[in-house]
């Protein structure tokens, strides 16, 4: 029982981790809660379905197209909505509200186009089940964990060790100052939205290979992803991994004692406990009240 729960937690964490990573990256650069991240997630899954099932493309091509299109969508939201709002000196609450509007509009557009019934990408590709230390795990789920970790590592290297990463951190730290030293903040933010949305899209495709999709998946993934990001310490790359693991563990070990349907309540209870005792999360820097 225990190894299986641990494996389930790890599989769940591989999806939440990518969502939290993208969300946290965007938060630390533009300093607001980009809820439309959930819309990107759902769009990616449905675009994958569109290309793979309706158009009949091969999986690698279909998924590349879907991830590309979803990350373009993220960029379009940034340029079409957020950038204009920032020009008007909008507060983070105004940005949050408009991203909620985008999320709701996009989610319902998808539900209009594809219907509310669940769609499936996985046609017997789950692979054979492997036995690892007493846990049953399919080769697909193992791939999910490996791909997710690889993408996390790639992002970490990108942000930590490249010139682009330094520019991204600079813009997140102080957009004005970075402009002074010749960094085009708008361009850097576009890159961040493209990369962050791509991470969410990859998570969506991985999850869609394992389980069915409905227009609500993005919203659910977003909520848990946001909790993971906050618990880990929003804006911290290691934090997103840690937060996702913790949320995954809380969700699946909780099931040990409680019925499964309480999973979400456990996740949000974890969130409230963190907000109460350590709002900056595990690895985040303390939040200064003067930053309002």
């Amino acid at each position: 029982m225990f190894p299986q729960l641990l494996a389930n937690a790890l599989i769940a964490a591989s999806i939440y981790g990518l969502v939290a990573l993208g969300f946290g990256l965007i938060y630390s650069t533009t300093r607001f809660f980009h809820f439309a991240h959930g819309a990107i997630y759902t769009s990616a899954a449905y675009l994958g379905f569109l290309f793979a099932v309706w158009c009949g493309f091969r999986f690698p091509l279909a998924f590349t197209l879907a991830i590309g299109a979803a990350s373009l969508l993220g960029v379009l939201i940034e340029i079409g909505v957020y950038r204009r709002l920032r020009r008007n000196n909008a507060t983070s609450i105004v940005l949050l509200l408009s991203s909620l509007g985008v999320l709701i509009a996009a989610q319902n557009s998808l539900s209009l186009t594809f219907g509310d019934s669940s769609k499936s990408l996985h046609r017997g590709i789950a692979g054979e089940a492997l036995q690892l230390w007493g846990a049953r795990i399919t080769s697909l789920q193992l791939t999910m964990i490996v791909v997710s970790f690889a993408l996390w590592l790639l992002t970490w290297v990108l942000i930590r060790f490249t010139r682009l990463g330094r520019m991204i951190r600079a813009v997140g730290n102080d957009p004005e100052l970075s402009r002074v030293v010749g960094v085009d903040a708008d361009k850097v933010i576009v890159v961040v939205y493209a990369w962050g949305s791509g991470l969410a899209a990859a998570a969506a495709i991985l999850a869609a290979l394992d389980t069915d999709m409905t227009p609500m998946i993005g919203f659910n993934a977003l909520l848990v992803g946001v909790v993971a990001a906050i618990v880990g310490g929003i804006g911290s790359i290691q934090g997103s991994l840690l937060g996702a693991l913790l949320v995954g563990l809380a969700q699946h070990l909780g099931v040990w004692k409680l019925p499964t349907q309480w999973q979400d309540a456990i996740v949000f209870l974890t969130l409230l406990i963190f907000l109460l005792l350590r709002p900056q999360g595990f690895l985040g820097r303390p939040i200064r009240k003067a930053e309002v």
């Binding site: 309480w262 969130l271 409230l272």
Partner: protein
Amino acid sequence: MDYLLHILILVCIYSVLAVSLDLLAGHTGLLSMAHGAFYGLGAYTSALLALRLGSPFLVGTLLGMLVGALLSLVVSLPSLRLRGDYFVIATFGFQMIVWGVFNNWTEVTRGPLGIPGIPQPAVFGWVIKSHAGFMVLAALLAVLAHWVVGRITGSPFGRVLRAIREDELLAQSLGKNVFRFKVSAFAVSAALAAMAGSLYAHYVTFIDPTSFTVMESILVISMVIIGGAGSPWGPLIGTTMLVVLPEALRFLGFPSSVAANMRQIFYGVLLVVMMMGRPRGLVGRYGFSR
């Protein structure tokens, strides 16, 4: 005719939600995503009391409001120390937990099956059966809610709330106990939302968790913002727009499943457009900025 009355009753119920949220969001600057939860708490409390103990409508409503106000402390005491968007996230978390309880505590709430057969309200021995009668009751309570919020925001107390919204540190430096003001505003707002919930439960006579989701919270937020936060008529105008306009879609011949999606797309897009073009809303005085 009954259809028209039905729309008007919905406008009344939602206007109570909108005006109570405006006290918190528009006047105090605290954007809460937990209004759907308090709405549901009022509905479930009143419905369960009526069915299990046979308590009359007004008693159920008052107790529902009490439950709403008390549980508002659970969220307001810890999370009011958080700044702007973290407060939003905390109320979001509370909303999800309460919804989880509605949906999963099946021994009490019957979970997704919902609670059928909630009695129609009886006020001082007079049982309200017709739409017209209910319309009068709903209108009275809506007027009451507007009056309460109007009185609060027009009083010195309300002035302090707006001071907190504009500059919390300044209000504090003038010796105002900011924390206590915020907690009280939250409690009043939650109690009024619970009142709307009780009204709703006794009107439709069947409740299930789908009526009290986070989407409901977002709908109420949209009503306040589109109409105009921090103004006497803004919430009512926003409510009327968001309740009546989507009904027009039905007359254009959309099937109801499509109409539900169209309605949400409509207010999602409207929210974005408002934030870009007119963050104060149609007649509002506060645009969530400084």
